[in-house]
């Protein structure tokens, strides 16, 4: 385990310590895995009507500007950026020429010549290098704003009520996967109605200098600090993919069930030919959702069997207080829909069944 002193710290490091945050290394940052309340109660706060506040400043932000911004993003990302309206966000991916994932991202359209990308912390250096290499052939400027930006997620039914007092405009006007550039505590920020929890809520991008005050005010407005452990529970219950788990440079959108963000009819993009080939050849494995019917907790890397035959492994698994032992797993394509499922837990086969996503009802505001 890396020494915490060698890790990057977000502007909220001291605030996490003051709240009893148990700090762990995560994507090169010292981040709270949980606070005094503990993972289960933090999870419940978000699922059961409160507002949870998450420091996700480790994530990266990249601004793409210039007259070639649209053409560039159409070429480097999989979703159809031409369909984005001003103030709209969409989920997308960066693929390599092999059609496998460099990263999954969200893209914000600020103007015809200006977009904002949110990328994974662990992939930041790789993503920025890739984007800058490709940008050389377009009339665009790619700037990595990660070091200057604090990103908070505020999730749960009470999120809007907790955030509204800090703003100069009405949050009600921001619909799901929409954003606004507005002032939070009088400082320019981007606020989107997005998140990773399956609850209503927001993600707030602001300058580092605003972080401590905004965090403190949100706590005063009743928000509960939430660590990485509860965050992972919330996202896994929704079946949301996480880079390094469901998606990686070993799988294409065909395997990862992410063809819905891969628009083959929009013209050329990096990885398109490989994805087309993979689609016609057939997926090498398929992502399924499963639920244990026997006792136990399915965990990442546990082997999955179908009709007694090794078929694949779990990519994310958990104990869900609502749904029980649930997991996402890759299995052989012929096992995606049929055959008796089991998960090997400490040498024993524990029965499981296929289920649909999300594992738990989503309360996002559609």
């Amino acid at each position: 385990m890396s020494e915490l002193s060698e890790l990057n710290k977000t502007p909220l490091f001291d605030a996490h310590i003051a709240l009893g945050g148990k700090m762990v290394p995560f994507a090169g940052f010292a981040m709270p895995v949980q606070y005094k309340l503990g993972a289960l109660k933090e999870y419940s706060a978000v699922r059961e009507g409160q507002a949870g506040i998450f420091d996700i400043t480790h994530m990266g932000q990249v601004r793409v500007s210039g007259t070639g911004a649209l053409a560039f993003l159409q070429y480097v990302s999989t979703n159809d950026v031409s369909k984005l309206a001003y103030g709209q966000v969409h989920y997308s991916a960066l693929l390599n020429e092999a059609g496998t994932f460099i990263d999954d991202i969200t893209t914000y359209k600020i103007a015809d010549d200006e977009y904002y990308l949110c990328i994974n912390a662990a992939n930041r250096v790789k993503d920025v290098a890739h984007l800058q290499t490709i940008a050389a052939d377009f009339d665009v400027c790619v700037s990595d704003e990660s070091d200057d930006t604090t990103l908070l997620a505020l999730q749960g039914a009470a999120a809007q009520a907790a955030l509204q007092p800090l703003l100069d405009s009405d949050l009600e006007s921001i619909a799901y996967y929409k954003f606004a550039q507005l002032k939070v505590n009088g400082v320019d920020a981007i606020v989107s109605r997005t998140g990773y929890s399956g609850e209503d809520g927001f993600e707030i991008y602001m300058p580092n200098s605003s972080a401590v005050e905004v965090w403190q005010q949100l706590l005063e407005n009743g928000a509960v600090p939430i660590g990485l452990a509860a965050r992972d529970m919330l996202r896994t219950e929704m079946g949301y993919a996480l880079y390094g788990h469901e998606i990686s440079d070993a799988v294409t959108p065909v395997e990862a069930k992410l063809m819905w963000i891969t628009k083959l009819d929009k013209g050329a993009f990096i990885g398109k030919d490989a994805v087309l080939k993979r689609r016609s050849a057939g997926a090498e494995k398929r992502l399924i959702a499963l639920k244990l019917t026997g006792r136990g907790i399915p965990r990442e890397h546990y082997n999955v069997f179908v009709d007694g035959q090794a078929s694949g492994e779990i990519t994310s698994g958990m104990f869900s207080p609502i749904a029980g032992g649930v997991a996402l797993a890759y299995v052989l394509p012929e096992h995606a829909e049929t055959g008796a499922l089991s998960v090997e837990i400490r040498g024993k086969q524990v029965a499981a069944e296929r289920t649909t996503l999300p594992f738990v009802r989503s309360n996002v505001r559609r």
């Binding site: 993972a39 006792r295 136990g296 907790i297 400490r346």
Partner: protein, 126 residues
């Protein structure tokens, strides 16, 4: 954090209470606190013969899976079935409702190194 004086402790943070030839096992308050919220406990089978130091149970927290080791060798005579439905007792009452198993101590038994409460306190401070 509590460390009751009537129990013995191991370096792996298990506790053991010996009453005649019966030993009751669990994990220490320090251990449960370090693990965080316990969401699953796998209990040993009744009748299983345990060697000192052998993994006999598994506790799972939200994020981690941990083996629990046998402090004193013997045969499992009782397990805390209540933990199947309420594993959180390991967190809320580590030395009481959070007990895991009872063994009948073998006559010629060995045990792992056991510490008194004072020794365990010192061990935790080191």
């Amino acid at each position: 954090m509590t460390i009751p004086a009537n129990l013995k402790y191991t370096k792996d943070h298990e506790w053991v209470r010996i009453d005649g030839d019966i030993a009751t096992f669990g994990i220490s308050d320090h251990a449960q606190e370090a693990l965080g919220d316990i969401v699953f406990v796998e209990l040993p089978d009744i009748g299983r013969e345990l060697d000192a130091g052998e993994a006999y149970a598994v506790v799972e927290s939200v994020k981690a899976v941990s083996d629990v080791y046998t402090p004193v060798a013997g045969e499992v005579v009782e397990v805390n079935d209540g933990l199947e439905a309420e594993p959180e007792h390991v967190n809320t009452d580590a030395y009481g409702a959070g007990w895991i198993a009872k063994v009948k101590i073998s006559a010629d038994t060995a045990s792992v190194e056991l510490m008194t409460d004072d020794e365990y306190t010192t061990f935790l401070e080191e």
